[in-house]
Amino acid sequence: MAGEDAWTKLGRIDPRILYALLIIVLIIPIITPVGLPIPITDQTRKTYEAVEKLPPGSVVVCSMDTSGAAWGENGPQAVVVLKHLFQKPLKIVVVGFETDGPMLGQQALLQIPKGEKKYGEDYVNLGFIAGGETARAAFGRDIHKLVSRDFLGNPIDKLPIMEKVRNAEDFALFFTFTSLISAVEMYVRQLHAPYKTKVVAAIIGLGVPSIVPYYNAGQVFSILSGSLGAAEYELLTKMPGEGVRLSDALSLSTLLVVACVVVGNVAFLAVKKKRKEEKR
């Protein structure tokens, strides 16, 4: 009987104790980074190499389809990818089809080193375009007929970069930084299916399993998987940043979840077994 009590008690712990445990597990690696190794996945490498191999002057679109809530994962991705793009002789177009996107994109643009690049000539922020799937389709079709001003209010006809960017056929690579599986699926439908655009899905980790079939089918060019993808990209570009900083705490807290699942279930099964025995 005493044994059963202990197991039952173990299963009924005050959640606040668990919260405290989690806080400790998160704080330790933030204060003293452990520097656990981060293996680099094929998909991240593929993305990196694709950017490396782009011919000079290619147009790369970075669509910010994320929200403040998901910025913890999409932010590190966007920052490291933009940093990398700005080091290359490329033209960069930032846009957003979810309301929060362009503002977050603007924040990311402000915090990265821009080198020689000039606004309006080498990069531009086209701002938010409402309409979800419709907006994405219209954007791929003809940007100039759709949008007349950028995020800062400049007429886009006066921006030299926009002479090279007219429709989806001009996109060498299309990044979507997003928390939404549906956003990636919209690009598969509206950009890849009609124009064969190379879409890179920089999605929060949660979305990855649902995107893999599109990658497998070649409908998505590659995937950056959440903050881990950001960390890998940071290592490839030798610019460790937020992603790498996150990864230690991420490792330990994930292990804590595993431990909780295991202990919780052992207690559950023990109680179940005891009950069965008592019934006999």
Partner: protein
């Protein structure tokens, strides 16, 4: 005139439209497809029965979405389940508490429950207090639901609709309250939590079969029939394609590239 590379899609679309129209026509003559057994829906009755035995209430929520969103079909599926549930609570004389998260859903849910009580032949037993509108805000609503589950000590917790980040919170609260739980959602990212916490689970598209399964709605049955036909086509295409692939005949792949 036809855009190249899209012929196969056009063909598939035309076939699906024709099949659907044909099944709708048959349904209007009373010929509907039969639907398979679904344990998740059947478990609702068991849950209500248990609640009656224990003399404790049944809790229901149709999820976080309203009607103005791409997820509205899930809300509608949830409300269909609610109508069935109301019929059962009326029949077994169990106490029903349904909490909605969107103000726009409240009047529809009220009408739904009233309808269920009328269908069960006990309109007098319906009370507006069975329905509670908690808040449009995600966690305020979820917190309200959790409060009800704990305070009222619900014996059954039935959740069908669109659930987001709060799915795990609600399921955990139901588990802690010792309720028998039936949960269903088409939000892929949350189904795993329902499978591991709830006793019965409706997975993905299963929830959209609510009207067809619980009320034998002919239009919905025809829709399900048409979807199944399309699935048979997909299965046939994959099977044939694999055989041809092994034999080294790329005819079907080329056909689909048309």
């Amino acid at each position: 005139m036809l855009t190249s590379g899209r012929g196969a899609a056009l063909g598939a679309l035309v076939i699906m439209v024709i099949v659907y129209a044909w099944l709708l026509n048959r349904a209007s003559k009373g010929k509907v497809p039969r639907i398979r057994k679904m344990a998740g829906f059947d478990a609702i009755e068991e849950a209500v029965g248990r609640a009656t035995e224990m003399g404790r209430p049944v809790f229901f929520t149709p999820g976080i979405s309203g009607f103005d969103h791409a997820d509205s079909p899930q809300t509608i599926a949830g409300l269909t389940v609610l109508r069935h549930l109301a019929k059962l609570t009326a029949k077994y004389k169990a106490r029903l508490i349904a909490a909605v998260s969107k103000a726009t859903v409240l009047p529809v849910a009220e009408e739904t429950v009233r309808q269920g009580y009328i269908e069960a032949g006990r309109p007098e037993a319906y009370e507006p207090s069975m329905l509670r509108y908690l808040s449009d805000e995600q966690f305020a609503w979820a917190g309200g639901c959790i409060g009800i589950m704990h305070r009222e000590g619900v014996a059954a917790n039935i959740m069908v609709g669109n659930f987001m980040g709060e799915s795990l919170l609600l399921a955990e609260a139901g588990y802690q309250a010792g309720a028998i739980q039936v949960a269903g959602t088409a939000n892929r990212s949350q189904i795993g939590f329902f499978v591991t916490v709830a006793d019965y689970c409706l997975i993905g598209e299963e929830i959209f079969a609510a009207g067809a399964y619980l009320f034998q709605d002919p239009v919905q049955l025809a829709g399900l029939g048409a979807q199944d036909m399309a699935k048979w086509i997909a299965i046939g295409a994959v099977a044939l394609g694999i055989i041809l692939n092994v034999l080294g005949i790329p005819v079907l792949v080329n056909l689909l590239k048309m």
